[in-house]
């Protein structure tokens, strides 16, 4: 886990999509949001949780690993950057590789887009836009100590298992204290391009 990072706490999410709107306001990709909201139990509950880039650490970001154009850079502090527009060829390999369903392709521009942890803000010590505005703290930016000081006893996980593969991430997830599982089951990858499930 990086020093300061995003913690996702689905138990607090109220599904307001302030994070989605805020992400759209970020100067590095104004007008487009890199977050989406998932509904885990539709038809039964209002439960929701935001999906942001998990900034995978180990194995080194699957998206970056599979990129044939070496367009996805991982910075020294562990931030998996959006694809470099001068290199990206819009092949969507990254979309298929990401186990969390994060990168998107702008089909018109033939360019990849993804969350870069608001590098324009975090570099100045500010929280990313989504975690700044999130009314509930379902998205929290800081260190794990800062999180635990604010929320006594909170447990986090940063390792997820997809079948045989384990992925350790820079962004962490709050897990129920009485059900700490390690690693957290991640399920099947969501394969999605421009909102369409490409497996169908």
């Amino acid at each position: 886990m990086m020093g300061r990072t995003i913690f996702i706490d689905p138990g607090r999410c109220i599904g307001c999509q302030a994070c989605v709107s805020a992400c759209r306001e970020c100067d590095s990709h104004r007008g487009k949001s890199m977050i989406h909201l998932d509904y885990t139990d539709e038809g039964r509950s209002v439960a929701s949780l935001p999906t942001v880039c998990m900034h995978c650490e180990d194995p080194v970001a699957p998206c970056a690993e599979v990129c044939p154009a070496d367009a996805i850079l991982v910075t020294a502090d562990g931030v998996v950057q959006q694809a470099d527009t001068t290199r990206c060829i819009g092949c969507a390999n990254c979309v298929n590789a990401c186990p969390f369903g994060v990168p998107k392709i702008d089909l018109q521009a033939k360019l990849q887009m993804k969350c870069n942890l608001c590098y324009d803000r975090t570099a100045y010590g500010l929280a990313p836009m989504c975690a700044t505005v999130c009314p509930t703290g379902a998205l929290f930016y800081g260190t794990v100590e800062e999180l635990q000081a604010e929320r006594p006893g909170v447990q986090v996980a940063d390792t997820f298992v997809f079948g045989e593969t384990e992925v350790r991430t820079g962004v962490a997830m709050v897990v129920p204290a009485d059900k700490v599982q390690w690693p957290v089951p991640g399920g099947l990858p969501v394969v999605e391009i421009n909102g369409k499930d490409v497996r169908r």
């Binding site: 999410c13 109220i14 302030a18 909201l37 209002v46 010590g125 500010l126």
Partner: protein, 774 residues
């Protein structure tokens, strides 16, 4: 602004000298969230103007980003101590209204409703309005002309609305759309405590041990307040939610009471019954601080859980659990909103909550007390200074001789000239229907969407001989007017609002209005001048109005005298009463155990439950209830034009339980005694089987308020939006969502120009879930 303690180490960490940090957004970032000098441009020409959100009663602090040309173009979160950087999607997108292509930029006029609007000069529009006012008043008396204000206006403007009606129009008929908002809570608080506001600040929620939220979908209607609720949970506080739907807040509650709409006071009487039975009352507190306890106690005896469970449709066991959790907690708080207030017994519902707080001694301590959550930004401040039909500035009563005399002295008029109390907003519409009121000016309201029983509202407005409306977009109501005055948005003027905590905050002007647009203050003063009352309305700007308002409120319960623009800018908000310029304000009430009644006691009131006004029968067996969705604000006039918010929640739906056999997205016709409309079904277990929910932000033919009943609470005159009898049927097809009206000569956003035909409801309960389609 309260500094974020962490911001200081970020500065050290970045080893930046804050005095060298450039201002504007760049400087804001360099200084870790504290603008070095927010009023001057940075090297890109960008300025950050500190202000607040224009929407709900949380009043989140925000910066508006202003470019080198002086135009608002974005938002930056602000570390104000109300919201500590947090914003909801409405707040984030609010800035897009300011330079929206749908803005009205010239007065619109027509002599009859058969004609098309044409753009005219300000002189022509003002002259026509004044001549119509005079014509109607000469023929039918001064009271034949009415004024309807709004609770999203700055307090200065609401003060002017009240003064304009009584001094310039000389009419008794003035009211405002806060009448649809929290007047039930206001009435109850006034009766019980002699003061009309929440007892505790939001920050007290963090200190409580048991938080009871009744009839408030906090997650969608006041999202930023959730941080306080979750903060209390982090500290181990228990959470009780009373709501027919399992909302985001109810989902994680310790006790969620999904009671049948319209049964709240039976429920709270029964909770009090259990509290008494189990000996959990605070008798010494009651003896010292309350009157009426014996009567309230006797009434509660009539509501054993076995009886209330039948009325409310909840297990009796839950009533016992709530009573124990609330009464046994060392510190407990109750917050409520429209869910219990929008009823023909709205005042009683609020009083039943107050009785519970009083009986358990949970009043006037850190972490113990009550609060009401205001829907509109200035829902609290909007009625404090004389915009409501029965109130004069400073919350004075228009029926009280002494109060009338005091205000007449300040206004420089004879007491005989001051009209008596008028009627409420809905009653004024009925009077319009009966042609008792023949002319109307509407400011900052949209009754065509927001009032119940649309058919009656349309008939009332259609019957007026003259109707003028102030707005910055052509609302559904403005589209029906004879004259539309294009006025400023919140970002184009200075002014104050009071949030749900009664904390007065200052909004700052971020840009000049577009050419052709005037402030509401200017228009009212100009109309007054042309009506011959110019000397009473010689206000240059908001500050001049505010200074008169301060004086007019001095010495009353709603005392603003000690609040000045300068102090507001320095402190980030002051809670009234604040009688002198060195007074710190009053964030928490009754700490000395004294209320604002002359005897200093809490006047407990006996509450009797009675069924809702629209009876159930075989044809209408279910309850229809209405409410908000997080992406939209009230009548939607402002938010139904903003692309991101339309994308998030494009249309209304009818939320119902799977037991009715509907599939998600199927057309469902909801029928009440007032009419029927078709919506896509949103099938979810998160609602009671006997209840249907529809969000109300859209106009006909997808309007919840075409179906709701115009029954009023006899005391507060609030309409019974939250319950009426209905049935549901399968329908053929779903009605399109009409595009918002666009003024002549203006282009709409492509997104809002076309009506939404997409038949599907949002994919998740509560209208969320249209994921990003980029």
């Amino acid at each position: 602004m309260t500094a974020d303690p962490r911001a200081a180490d970020r500065r050290t960490h970045l080893s930046l000298d804050p005095s060298l940090a450039p201002p504007g957004t760049r400087g804001f970032r360099d200084a870790g969230g504290i603008p070095a000098d927010q009023w001057h441009a940075d090297q890109n020409g960008e300025t950050l103007v500190p202000t607040h959100c224009c929407f709900c009663g949380v009043q989140c602090g925000m910066y508006l980003r202003v470019d080198r040309g002086g135009k608002v173009f974005g938002v930056e979160p602000r570390n104000h101590d109300i919201n500590r950087m947090r914003l909801c999607p409405k707040g984030i997108n609010a800035y897009q209204q300011v330079n929206h292509p749908d803005r009205l930029t010239a007065p619109l006029m027509r002599r009859s409703r058969d004609e098309e609007f044409r753009e005219v000069s300000w002189d022509e529009a003002l002259d026509f309005t004044v001549s119509e006012i005079k014509r109607i008043q000469q023929a039918h008396g001064n009271d034949a002309f009415g004024l309807l204000g709004g609770a999203s206006l700055f307090s200065e403007k609401t003060y002017l609305v009240g003064k304009f009606a009584r001094v310039a129009l000389k009419s008794r008929h003035v009211d405002y759309n806060g009448r649809l908002c929290m007047v039930s809570a206001a009435g109850a608080n006034k009766l019980a405590f002699g003061i009309d506001r929440a007892g505790n600040p939001f920050s007290d929620i963090l200190l409580t041990d048991c938080l009871l939220i009744a009839g408030s979908n906090v997650g969608e209607c006041f999202p930023v307040m959730t941080q306080y609720v979750w903060g209390a949970r982090d500290r181990g506080a228990s959470l009780i939610v009373i709501d027919p739907r399992e909302t985001a807040i109810a989902r994680t509650a310790d006790i969620h009471v999904a009671l049948k709409p319209g049964t709240d006071s039976a429920f709270f009487n029964s909770v009090l019954h259990v509290v008494i039975e189990e000996g959990l009352t605070d008798e010494s507190y009651l003896a010292a601080h309350a009157t009426g306890w014996a009567e309230v106690r006797a009434k509660a005896a009539e509501y054993p859980p076995s009886r209330a469970a039948g009325i409310c449709g909840v297990p009796a066991e839950q009533i016992v659990q709530v009573a124990r959790a609330f009464a046994r907690a060392p510190r407990a708080m109750a917050w409520h909103a429209r869910g219990i207030e929008h009823h023909s017994q709205g005042v009683e519902n609020c009083l039943s909550v107050i009785n519970l707080c009083t009986a358990t001694g949970h009043i006037g301590r850190p972490g113990a007390g009550y609060g009401t959550i205001t829907g509109q930004g200035n829902g609290q401040g909007g009625r404090e200074h004389g915009q409501k039909s029965d109130l004069l500035p400073g919350g004075r009563s228009i029926m009280n001789e002494e109060h009338r005399r005091q205000i007449c002295e300040i206004w420089g008029i004879e007491e005989s000239e001051l009209p008596p109390a008028g009627t409420s907003m809905m009653e004024m519409v009925w009077q319009m229907q009966r042609r008792e009121i023949r002319g109307l000016i509407g400011i900052c309201n949209n009754p065509f969407v927001s009032l119940p029983n649309y058919k009656v509202v349309k008939e009332g407005y259609d019957a007026t001989e003259f109707h003028a409306q102030f707005d910055f977009f052509l609302s559904e109501t403005a589209a029906n007017a004879h004259v539309v005055f294009p006025v400023t948005t919140w970002a184009e003027d200075d002014g104050v609002m009071a949030n749900a905590e009664a904390r007065v905050v200052k909004h700052n002007k971020a840009q000049d209005p577009p050419p052709g647009v005037r402030t509401d203050t200017w228009v009212m003063c100009e109309l007054a001048r042309r009506l011959g009352a110019g000397d009473k309305f010689a206000f240059a700007d908001s500050r001049a109005v505010f200074d008169e308002l301060r004086v007019a409120s001095a010495g009353t319960v709603n005392d603003y005298y000690g609040i000045t623009y300068e102090r507001l800018e320095e402190t980030g908000g002051i809670a009234w009463p604040c009688p002198s310029t060195d007074h710190p304000g009053t964030p928490r009430l009754f700490e000395d155990g004294k209320t604002y009644h002359p005897d200093g006691k809490i006047h407990m009131q006996v509450v009797e439950w009675h069924p809702p006004m629209d009876p159930y029968d075989d044809e209408h067996p279910m309850s229809l209830t209405t409410g908000r969705t997080v992406a939209h604000f009230l009548s939607g006039n402002q938010t139904r034009r903003l692309g991101a918010l339309v994308e998030q929640t494009p249309r209304p739906w009818a939320e119902l339980h799977p037991s009715h056999g509907f599939r998600n997205g199927e057309p469902v016709r909801v029928v009440t005694r007032r009419g029927s409309e078709v919506f896509p079904a949103l099938v979810t277990e998160a609602i009671r089987p006997d209840t249907v929910f529809i969000p109300y932000h859209w106009p006909v033919p997808t309007s919840a308020n075409a179906l709701t009943i115009d029954a009023l609470d006899p005391r507060s005159k609030i309409p019974e939006y939250k319950v009426c009898a209905c049935r549901i049927e399968h329908a053929e097809k779903i009605d399109e969502v009409p595009a918002p009206p666009v003024a002549p000569g203006h282009v709409a956003y492509p997104e809002t120009q076309v009506s939404r035909t997409d038949p599907l409801p949002p994919t998740a309960p509560q209208g969320r879930g249209t994921s990003e389609r980029s």
